[in-house]
């Protein structure tokens, strides 16, 4: 293939190591270099659509060395990560002026992007763990970046829970190595197909679900998210909610469940149960919030529930041996919702950051009537809210429609009913946001609120245009066939992953 795969990891790493040398005086030069790096990654990700390949690092052949694998699922997630990180980096060029150590922020941000790219591309399970840790450590530091009271408490809670999750994942990797004797995901898959599951591998699977589920903020393990996402600076909330919980949590879970271990009925139903629990609990807890970012954080938990429900439904249908077309429709809905949510949730958090910079507060009761003062923020926030609620023709409508269709086609009518009910709850919470922030009376102290211009505006408008256009991803057959279908095929052909990798 044209672009060597390690470029996705090496470019942000090299830039991240170079940036702290700039110091306080080279702040603007550092911002320009960082933006060039993320835009270069976006260009590379777009040119990798539809390709696939295996890259052996250091020319060591596969069972001996580490390899990077690019297949449909990886290229879909790389595209999502690059788009969101390019937009957020543009936004943070303007927003982070109020913090003092900007080159360090940019360096940590690029380390997080390098870690996420590494997780998505890795073909070796321990390499996945190392990149997971790189991205997680960078995000723990970024959440507490402002060093105020709330940020430190949120960051400590997030760090402790995230480290415990990573230790569970490492323990599970040790168990897998002890039972199969290799660390390469394709070879592990072959070994498990030959020897079957035993108690050690079953326990390892449970530990993987707990560890990755905590990173993805599924409901019994969600305790860190409502504190971490509001307290972080707005661009970091956008990255965390938009791509980090998806690439570290949902992607790793899907890869391990579908491609390495193989689906089983118990795991499928467990994923469906976790998904439904997250959807319902997240939606109910979000309606009563008065802090705008905390409301959006709970809404993130709810939307990740949709994604896991779609993937779990597909897993359960595959394990039951039902019509494979039903399973691939469910997985298509889940993956499309993942990509959609990355775009509109990060746009929502960026607009909340713009609101916070203009008004100085995050409480809904203190804002009101800002529709005339902040026109661009109002438009982009409305576009994003319409997407997340599911109003046609915005992107969120199509993914929810396909998920409901998949549930009805598989004859689980109660799941379809729950999906529609939670969508109504999402409508209620975003109507609340719109009414309290933009409509109503303008309070005295906000009479001079100014619209934020420059790069912040460009980033928000870019993401808003994507929200409108993303519906075409599933409606236009050629786009669907080149971007979404390869990802779905990777998951539905679960155990053939090992043949594909060993054959390349």
């Amino acid at each position: 293939m044209s672009i060597p795969l390690p470029a996705f990891v090496a470019i942000p790493l090299a830039t991240a190591f170079l940036l702290p040398m700039f110091g306080k005086r080279g702040k603007d030069a550092a911002t320009v270099v960082a933006n060039i790096a993320t835009i270069l990654l976006l260009v590379f990700a777009i040119s990798c659509i539809g390709e696939s390949g295996v890259y052996e690092i250091g020319k060591w052949p596969i069972p001996l060395g580490i390899n990077l694998v690019l297949d449909g699922l990886s290229s879909l997630l790389l595209l999502a990560i690059s788009v969101v990180s390019a937009a957020v980096m543009l936004f943070s060029a303007g927003y982070m002026e109020q913090y003092t150590a900007k080159p360090k922020y940019l360096s940590l941000f690029l380390l997080m992007v390098a870690g996420m790219n590494g997780v998505v591309l890795s073909g070796d399970i321990f390499n996945l763990f190392v990149f997971l840790e790189i991205a997680s450590l960078a995000s723990y530091a970024l959440v507490g970046f402002g060093c105020g009271h709330e940020e430190l408490e949120a960051s400590f809670k997030y760090t402790v829970l995230g480290t415990i999750a990573s230790i569970f994942v490492l323990f599970a990797i040790g168990l897998v190595y002890g039972n199969t004797g290799t660390l390469n995901m394709a070879y592990i898959s072959k070994a498990i197909q030959n020897s079957g599951m035993n108690a050690g591998l079953g326990f390892a699977m449970a530990l993987f679900i707990v560890g990755f589920g905590l990173k993805a903020a599924l409901v019994p393990f969600h305790a860190w998210l409502p504190d971490a996402h509001p307290s972080a600076p707005a661009p970091i909330s956008a990255m965390l909610s938009g791509v980090l919980i998806k690439s570290l949590g949902v992607y790793a879970l899907a890869r391990v469940v579908f491609n390495v271990f193989g689906v089983s009925l118990a795991v499928g139903w467990l994923l469906i149960a976790l998904g439904i629990l997250s959807m319902v609990v997240g939606a109910f807890l979000a309606i009563g919030q008065w802090d705008i970012k905390r409301l959006m954080a709970y809404s993130s938990i709810s939307q990740i529930g949709y994604v896991v429900l779609g993937i779990g439904l597909g897993a359960m249908l595959l394990a039951k041996g039902a019509n494979p077309a039903w399973a691939s429709l469910a997985i298509l809905a889940g993956l499309f919702h993942l990509v959609n949510h990355a775009v509109y949730k990060s746009l929502l958090f960026l607009t909340s950051g713009s609101l916070e910079k203009a008004t100085g507060t995050r409480q809904l009761k203190e804002m009101g009537g800002l529709a005339q003062r902040l026109p661009f923020t109002r438009t982009t926030c409305t576009v994003a809210s319409a997407s997340i609620v599911g109003i046609p023709p915005f992107s969120g409508f199509w993914s929810k429609l396909i998920l409901v269709m998949a549930a009805i086609q598989a004859q689980y009518y109660w799941i379809a009913a729950i999906i529609v009910f939670v969508s109504l709850c999402t409508l209620i919470m975003y109507l609340k946001v719109q009414r309290y922030v933009f409509l109503g009376e303008l309070p005295e102290n906000l009479r001079e609120a100014q619209e934020n211009g420059g790069t912040m505006l460009v980033a928000m408008v870019f993401l808003a245009c994507l929200c409108v256009l993303m519906g075409l991803l599933v409606l236009v057959p050629s786009l669907r066939g080149s971007i979404l279908e390869p990802a779905v095929t990777v998951l539905t052909d679960g155990l053939k992953y090992s043949d594909v990798v060993m054959g390349m």
């Binding site: 190392v130 990573s166 190595y177």
Partner: protein, 120 residues
């Protein structure tokens, strides 16, 4: 049998990280968990009566000597995993301790029941 003791150490660390109220004790609990997992990984590679996996001139003389070496040395791969895991835990430990110190400067206490401004 040794694996059961290793798992017991892991459970002790987990209990400490979940139940205790002092921030530094929570960090120590996480450290104990990490030691337990590193111990488990090293024990995976052990072989009874094994020799260290370092090659010298006598092993390279003939194919039989090399085969003998391969079948009697301990597995070096888990040792590489443990080195990486130790470095990662050092990084996260440094981050957690610096968060503890900064929180102490702001609140004046290490007790997590009193550091609770975020609710709901």
């Amino acid at each position: 049998m040794l694996y059961a003791l290793c798992f017991l150490l892991f459970m002790i660390g987990l209990y400490c990280a979940v139940v205790k109220k002092n921030m530094v004790k929570i960090v120590v609990g996480i450290l104990i968990m990490e030691y337990a997992v590193n111990l488990f990984l090293v024990m995976l590679g052990y072989r009874h009566g094994g020799i260290a996996p370092i090659i010298d001139k006598s092993h390279l003389e003939s194919q039989a000597a090399l085969n003998n070496f391969v079948s009697s040395s301990v597995d070096p791969l888990p040792q590489a995993l443990v080195l990486t895991a130790i470095v990662i835990s050092l990084g996260s430990l440094a981050l957690m301790i610096s968060l503890c110190i900064r929180t102490y400067e702001k609140y004046g206490t290490f007790d997590i029941t009193e550091i609770r401004r975020l609710r709901g």
